[in-house]
Amino acid sequence: MKTLKALLLALSALLGTARLTAADEVNLFGWSEYIPQEVLDGFTSETGIKVNFETYASNEELLSKLVAGGGAYDIVQPSDYTAEVMIRRGMLAPLDPAKLPNLRNIGAQFRSLPHDPQGKFTVPYMTGTVGIVVNTEKVKDPIKGYKDVFKEKFKDRLVVLNDNREIVTWALYSLGLSINDITPASLAKARPVVANWVKLVKVFDSDSPKTALLNGDVDIGVVWSGEAALLWNENKKFHYVLPAEGAHMFVDTLCIPASAKNKDAAHKLIDYIMRPEVSKIISDKFPYTNPNLAARKLLTPEQLANPASYPASNTARTFRDIGTAAADIDKLVTDLKSAQ
């Protein structure tokens, strides 16, 4: 290891290590297609602060890039359970509420969630759920929960997220077990359930599960609410329901890494995004559930009537970080899928 380090250092001398940072720039590392460019442009024209926007497509991509040492970011956008582990590891800086007056626009129910109970480190950006979307032209049976979806009758008519923790979570919900307290015993109980379900699914797709539904290759999906909202906008035959057994809710947050160089500008941008009229722009473009209650007042009745964006009742729970159990889940699902 020592010789390796010495070698690397010699190399660094060889290649040169120029680093430049400008004071009026903020480096944002966020989800792709989640923050409209016009919001960032509006911020720049108002404050003169340039936003360098880099994107990722999953929480693990964000973490991998941070851990491997990439980029110096001023704002990151992890989901709840990822923010939780980042807080625990001291990767996030506490926010200064004095610099975030627009925090009052955020609904109280979104400010004291388990991943950050006092809302010290994170500000909710958008939230959503994982639920069931049904093509009501093809499926006439009432669909209320996972047990109505995963039936022999619907074999090869299902699309579900290609995410191992998700499918195990649904199995745990259907068994009435905790989704965040993963033990060998609970996984052993979930195993036969998942084994049966995997055989029924036609497509696993996390990136664009709506495609298979729109194409008519499948009739029921267990998907992100954002996907379901887009489907509803396209055609009202796609109904969204939150599973009766329980559903997963995600809260995507805005936070400042402990290593951020320009925390001041980062606070300014976060506060700007929480303005009702700015938050409305985001809702117009991406139909997720907006936790900004002041912004919700600016939305059209049609937007608020989209059952995927604003479901009637929401008893969904957020994920907690499950540590090493993530590897057990991966092994379980990989095992069952490859046994087919």
Partner: protein
């Protein structure tokens, strides 16, 4: 042709072979271009979701040119692909020739190492290169992305050129050297022209690999060095819209037009 006179079957046999080859090639080109045709047709589709045909429109082309980030990503991809192709061709062709020409002490080991980037999973290459760059303090950006792309592209050039070298007559270089050329001159004036088809093939592969790479690039890029695949993959989350088809259509039409135009220029200059 005395042979054909004694064996009348010969020309017809050759002709048959020629027809077969021509027909087969045409079928393969249809296979290659069917999805491209679909993609181009859908670039004129008014439906946002790229799935069912609604009606004809030019809107997506207008929207494409108004979409700054997408145009920028396309430009970046072209810059990065060109840079990494040039470097890959230099390293790959030179390496193939030297390994062919001389018996180096570790040539077998070097040969095996060259093939490793082809087999290394993208995620492993991306993360390990990022760790390397972060440790030596090399700032992420176009340079790091090009370094990464060259690393997985140049083996393709090298392998293609090596295949060509295997059939090369060793007397060719000897002759040039006997005529008093330096080894470098002999390489440049005799060997390179001989290798040209393989170099072109290798360059095309390197360019294509760079234009289409997503995962390695994600790790070693900076905010400004956004490439087309990264932009496109992000858009999949909200639905791939026909704007992307429009971009691809322009790309293909422009390339084909460029090919025809350059041939035309060549003819004019003659």
């Amino acid at each position: 042709m005395p042979a054909s006179a004694t064996r009348p079957l010969l020309p017809s046999g050759l002709k048959l072979l020629n027809w077969f080859l021509r027909g087969w090639t045409a079928l393969v080109f249809i296979f290659l271009y069917v999805p491209i045709a679909v993609l181009v047709v859908f670039s004129f589709n008014s439906s946002r979701l790229n799935i069912v045909w609604e009606s004809f429109t030019f809107d997506w082309y207008a929207k494409l040119f108004a979409n700054g980030p997408l145009i920028k990503a396309a430009k970046n991809s072209l810059i990065i692909a060109t840079g990494s192709t040039v470097l890959s061709v230099i390293i790959g062709t030179g390496g193939a020739w030297l390994l062919h020409r001389y018996r180096y002490r570790f040539s077998q080991a070097i040969q095996t190492l060259v093939a490793i980037p082809m087999v290394m999973p993208e995620i492993l290459m991306g993360i390990s290169l990022l760790i390397l760059f972060a440790t030596i303090g090399l700032k992420l950006g176009f340079t790091t992305v090009i370094i990464g792309h060259v690393t997985f592209s140049f083996p393709f050039v090298l392998v293609a050129v090596q295949a060509r070298l295997q059939g090369l007559d060793p007397a060719l270089e000897e002759a040039a050297l006997d005529l008093g050329a330096t080894p470098l001159k002999a390489f440049w004036l005799v060997i390179v022209p001989c290798l040209k088809p393989a170099i072109i093939a290798g360059a095309l592969m390197a360019f294509t690999l760079s234009m289409d790479e997503l995962i390695v690039t994600f790790f070693i890029r900076s905010a400004s060095a956004v490439t087309l695949p990264i932009q496109v993959f992000g858009l999949a989350r909200v639905g791939l819209n026909p704007m992307l088809n429009a971009l691809s259509a322009i790309f293909i039409v422009a390339t084909v037009a460029f090919v025809l135009f350059s041939e035309y220029l060549k003819k004019l200059s003659r």
